[in-house]
């Protein structure tokens, strides 16, 4: 299962984004993946490989301003991944994922503004830690306790948390109030400054790939299997002796950490943070990405973010006013007729659910 990915990964390391070599990477990815299809009819690795190659080549064919846009999309895809872990795998409806995204953004913005800390090796872990901490606090409060919390309570609790954070950020002068914190200094590594452009793009893409692989490992482990069981039938998992609430709190916290990482990248990429970033609008935005792409598959979240943002960008010139209406209609259609998202057009239900046990064996075989 991991083989095609690792081949592509090696190709990335060797090529470092040269156009000619990028094409080679495509060939290298396609070869074993095709064999795989014949052997086990696995579609997922192909989809992942295609997305990765497309993402690697994107800055080479896109104009500069589009590369900046693509960087933003990649960051949002990372954010979508965090929500997918929580909802797609563990079945916890978090309507407040932006709380962790935005609070990390605010956190690193304050670090940069008040303490002049912009070193990438400090700010990204700091952002992740902030997201992790907030998620641990909120998730611990909402999910743990003597009585298991109802799904409705958790979703409304997270929604309320996000809304309250939005109000707080709007009214708190230290955080810049309505205007947020503008003109954040760029991230640095030694003497190098990461400004918008291809370097930032590849940095973000690299982080996404690493986080993606970690998540992939996580959801295919025993832990991930228990999570999927939690999503499908919580009571049964509890009867097997798992502490369902603890599992939920752990994955919620991990999701918060990933969201925090995405949020800190977003803050530095955009150069400012504003109250919407912690609020309900962004929280629901990430829900849309994952529903569109297909929850319960990691790549679905990434694809969803790319498609929603891409189409929105493409339409926003001429159809800015009606785009949200179209988005709503599409969302309704997806919920009614394709509850597993767009990915379910190419990916069978069997592979989505059944890939856990099989994936594990192959992980051990992988070099």
């Amino acid at each position: 299962m991991l083989k095609p990915m690792s081949v592509v990964r090696q190709a990335i390391v060797a090529d470092a984004g040269d156009e000619m070599d990028g094409a080679m990477a495509e060939g290298a990815a396609a070869g074993p993946a095709k064999d795989r299809v014949k052997a086990g009819r696995k579609v997922l690795p192909i989809v992942e490989g295609v997305v990765l190659v497309a993402a690697l080549l994107a800055p080479l064919v896109l104009q500069d301003y589009l590369t900046v846009f693509a960087t933003r999309v990649i960051i949002l895809a990372l954010f979508a991944l965090s929500f997918d872990l929580v909802w797609g795998y563990a079945g916890i409806m978090s309507f407040g994922q932006a709380l962790f995204f935005g609070s990390a953004g605010y956190g690193v913005a304050l670090l940069a503004r008040d303490l002049d800390i912009t070193n990438i090796l400090l700010v990204l872990p700091a952002g992740t830690l902030i997201g992790l901490t907030f998620a641990l606090l909120l998730g611990g409060f909402l999910l743990l306790g003597r009585h298991p919390s109802s799904v409705i309570f958790v979703s409304l609790g997270t929604l309320t948390g996000s809304y309250a954070a939005d109000r707080l950020a709007r009214g708190w002068y230290y955080l810049g109030g309505q205007n947020g914190i503008p003109s954040i200094a760029p991230m640095t590594l030694g003497g190098y400054e990461f400004t918008e452009g291809p370097a930032f793009y590849y940095l973000v893409l690299g982080i996404l790939v690493v986080v993606y692989l970690l998540c992939r490992f996580l959801v295919r482990s025993q832990f991930g299997l228990a999570l999927a069981g939690l999503r499908e039938n919580e009571q049964r998992i509890a009867f097997f002796g798992y502490k369902a609430q603890h599992l939920k709190a752990i994955i919620f916290t991990v999701g918060g950490g990933v969201a925090g990482l995405a949020g800190s990248l977003y803050a530095f990429h955009e150069g400012f943070v504003w109250p919407n970033m912690v609020g309900v609008v962004v929280s629901t935005q990430v829900v849309l990405y994952v529903l569109f792409g297909g929850s319960g598959t990691l790549i679905g979240a990434v694809i969803g973010a790319v498609i929603v943002e891409g189409v929105s960008f493409w339409l926003s010139d001429n159809y800015r006013d009606i785009w949200p209406i179209i988005l709503g209609l599409l969302l309704l259609l997806v919920i009614l007729f394709r509850p597993l998202g767009l990915i379910s057009f190419v990916l069978g239900e069997r592979e989505r659910v059944g890939s856990f046990g099989a994936g594990q064996k192959e992980t051990r075989d992988a070099p």
């Binding site: 409806m93 409060f141 909402l142 306790g145 009585h147 919390s149 109802s150 799904v151 409705i152 309570f153 979703s155 409304l156 609790g157 929604l159 309320t160 948390g161 809304y163 309250a164 109000r167 707080l168 709007r170 009214g171 708190w172 309900v280 629901t284 829900v287 529903l291 006013d321 009606i322 949200p324 209406i325 988005l327 709503g328 209609l329 969302l331 309704l332 919920i335 009614l336 509850p339």
Partner: protein, 285 residues
């Protein structure tokens, strides 16, 4: 003394507005188990209908009377076409109604633009009690809220329709076996909840003016109120709305509004965590 009275009136009238908005939300949540994210947009539509009547030169009260019927009708149609598919899955229902709300909100935004449109109060001026002046329209809202609340209570507890609704809530299969058409009851209940939202929107538009995010402003407050009050009964959400509305109107008088705003939500969530059944537990009216 006069200040305290004005403050008390402000708090009371805001509490009444929240109760009015939560009524429909609470009925749909309690009787059908659906947390309707589009409820805020039903409020918005009610406000929009009233504005349309005003803009076309009709009397404002005509718009206010028409609003609940139009929005209720729309609710009935939406229930039959879409909401009906969500009953088994509460989370999917949230997402589906969110999508519906998004469509309605953005359509209205397209129609009115990004403006704040004002609608005059049909009953203007103020009521003078000695040296104190209170807004006549806000006073009317309080009176109408009380009437509507009483009416809903009577409808659910004293009429045969109310009996059917409660029967459907408590035991759908037995209700079906007794010859009650549960789909029709669900449709009617949803339409009724939507109509109440439409009425709320129509009544509050002179106070808050019309803008696309009008409903969104109250939605989360409404949900929190329903949870605090307790899902499953008619009285529960109303009581919750009274508490939340009063608190959110009263606290800003004693502390910074931002802190008050957040504090209400934090208190509410903590309360629900330790008393998940809400203020008033149990099913029924």
């Amino acid at each position: 003394m006069a200040n305290a009275f004005v403050a008390a009136f402000e708090i009371l009238s805001f509490g009444a507005i929240i109760v009015l908005i939560v009524l429909g939300l609470g009925i749909i949540a309690s009787m059908m188990g659906i947390f309707n994210f589009a409820q805020g947009e039903f409020v918005l539509l009610g406000a929009y209908v009233t504005y349309l009547a005003y803009a076309k030169g009709l009397p404002i009260w005509a718009g206010m009377v028409a609003a609940p019927f139009l929005v209720g009708g729309l609710g009935f149609v939406l229930e039959a076409l879409i909401i009906r598919r969500f009953y088994a899955a509460p989370i999917v229902a949230m997402l589906g109604t969110y999508a519906l709300g998004l469509i309605i909100r953005e359509s209205v935004r397209g129609l009115i633009g990004g403006f704040y449109l004002t609608v005059p109060e049909p009953i203007g001026g103020s009521i003078d009690i000695g040296a104190m002046h209170i807004s006549a329209w806000r006073f009317t809202i309080i009176v109408i809220t009380l009437l509507v609340m009483g009416g809903c209570y009577l409808l659910l507890s004293r009429t045969s329709f109310g009996l059917r609704v409660r029967a459907t809530l408590e035991n759908p299969s037995l209700a079906r076996a007794s010859g009650i058409s549960t789909p029709l009851i669900y449709g009617a209940t949803f339409a009724f909840g939507a109509a109440l939202a439409g009425l709320a929107g129509a009544l509050i538009v002179p106070v808050f003016s019309l803008f696309a995010d009008l409903g969104l402003r109250f939605l989360i407050q409404g949900f929190v109120a329903v949870m605090v009050g307790g899902v499953g009964s008619f009285i529960g959400p109303v009581a919750g709305a009274g508490v939340i509305g009063t608190l959110s109107a009263a606290l800003p008088w004693v502390m910074a509004p931002v802190v008050a705003d957040v504090l209400v939500f934090v208190l509410a969530i903590v309360f629900i965590k330790f008393r998940p059944q809400g203020l008033i537990a149990g099913k029924g009216v």
